[in-house]
């Protein structure tokens, strides 16, 4: 999922300073799962915003709504009849949601309430960790299901580097060396021959280096 965390209240309160009636808009997808911008977080931030503004002596009307998805035009369309009554939309979705709203409603200010972080998985309740960097050319099949792009600090393809000590990365003792994990898993799978094979330089054009990316499915596009 795409993970996110709420922005600091100081920044949020500053961004809504000019407005007296806002729509606080959650998203029922990734940000709900990572407890950053679902219905519950909308209610919490709504209450905090009302309290924060009242404390400053500047009451603000906060209407709360959570869409099924903010990154799909069909759900964003639901707002078309009511959006004009607000001074601004404060989105608790990831950056994709914020931009979908901004694109559909060009005259409406849209403020992000969360910082979108990374594509991650849940390690335990309340803990998420980066697992995919969306490089556009997946190598997990050769690396024992452990990603050297997302989980190696240097993103190297023929690791480990000299900074690997007792299974930990040199950047921190809290960070596992991805290549140690890869080696351990390949051993367990009986696939150590994959480790011996040199991996060629990666073509990063499929990643962000090739500019903004787009997927067009001709069999589906209308």
């Amino acid at each position: 999922m795409i993970t996110a965390t709420r922005k600091p209240m100081e920044e949020i309160l500053k961004s809504v300073e000019p407005f007296s009636k806002i729509l606080l808009l959650g998203c029922n997808e990734c940000v709900t799962v990572c407890h950053a911008g679902g219905r519950k977080e909308v209610a919490l931030l709504g209450a905090a915003l009302r309290l924060g503004r009242l404390q400053k002596g500047l009451p603000m009307e906060v209407e709360e709504l959570t869409l099924e998805r903010q990154c799909d035009p069909e759900y964003v369309e639901e707002l078309s009849r009511t959006i004009d009554q607000y001074d601004a939309v404060c989105s608790m979705a990831c950056g994709c949601g914020v931009q979908t709203i901004a694109e559909r409603y060009p005259s409406m200010p849209v403020m992000p309430m969360v910082n979108t972080a990374f594509m991650g998985a849940s390690e335990s309740h309340g803990v998420w960790a980066e697992r995919c960097a969306g490089c556009g050319d997946c190598v997990l099949g050769y690396t024992g299901g452990i990603c050297p792009v997302a989980r190696c600090s240097k993103r190297i393809f023929n690791g480990p580097c000299g900074g690997s000590t007792k299974g930990k990365c040199e950047i921190s003792n809290d960070v596992d060396c991805a290549w140690q994990l890869i080696w351990d898993r390949l051993k367990e799978l009986g696939q150590t021959e994959l480790y011996s094979k040199l991996m060629e330089p990666k073509d990063w054009r499929t990643a962000r280096d090739g500019g903004p990316r787009r997927i067009v499915r001709e069999d589906m596009a209308l």
């Binding site: 209240m9 100081e10 209610a43 919490l44 905090a48 009242l54 404390q55 400053k56 002596g57």
Partner: protein
């Protein structure tokens, strides 16, 4: 502000603090009249939103009163509540309402005296903090 009588909402766990409040009553122990007890099945049920709603509706302080460590009927509801209260305190500081208006306290069902004393102490703390700042702002805005 000596005539200020704070309204304090106490979310009291049925297995400990709620019974302790009952014991305090039976022992004829006094505690401030502004204490409003809300019985909950476990402090683990106390959503952060309950606390914020109480403050939004004008409470001057909120106590979350749960079982002693290791005594939770549901294993760790009290610890979950304590973690939530900690996060709420940070949030309340961020919006200048003040973290002191919310506290997590722990007691056993028989500790009526502890309930009364905790209530008195917390009300005194809130008295020092003054009324919930939103009340003043809301009355000015009206």
């Amino acid at each position: 502000m000596s005539d200020f009588e704070p309204v304090v909402v106490v979310f009291a766990c049925d297995y400990c603090a709620y019974t302790a409040a009952d014991v305090a009553g039976r022992m004829n122990l006094e505690y401030p009249a502004g204490i409003r007890i809300v019985r909950v099945p476990c402090t683990g049920k106390v959503d952060s939103l309950y606390v914020l709603r109480a403050l939004e509706k004008g409470a001057d302080g909120v106590l979350v009163a749960g079982c002693l460590d290791g005594d939770c009927h549901f294993k760790n509801g009290n610890l979950r509540a304590a973690a939530r209260v900690k996060a709420l305190k940070r949030l309340l500081d961020e919006i200048n309402i003040g973290s002191g208006r919310v506290e997590m306290v722990q007691m056993s069902a028989g500790q009526g005296a502890v309930f009364a004393e905790t209530a008195r102490n917390f009300v005194a703390t809130v008295q020092e903090l003054g009324p919930n700042p939103i009340k003043h702002a809301a009355s000015q805005a009206a």
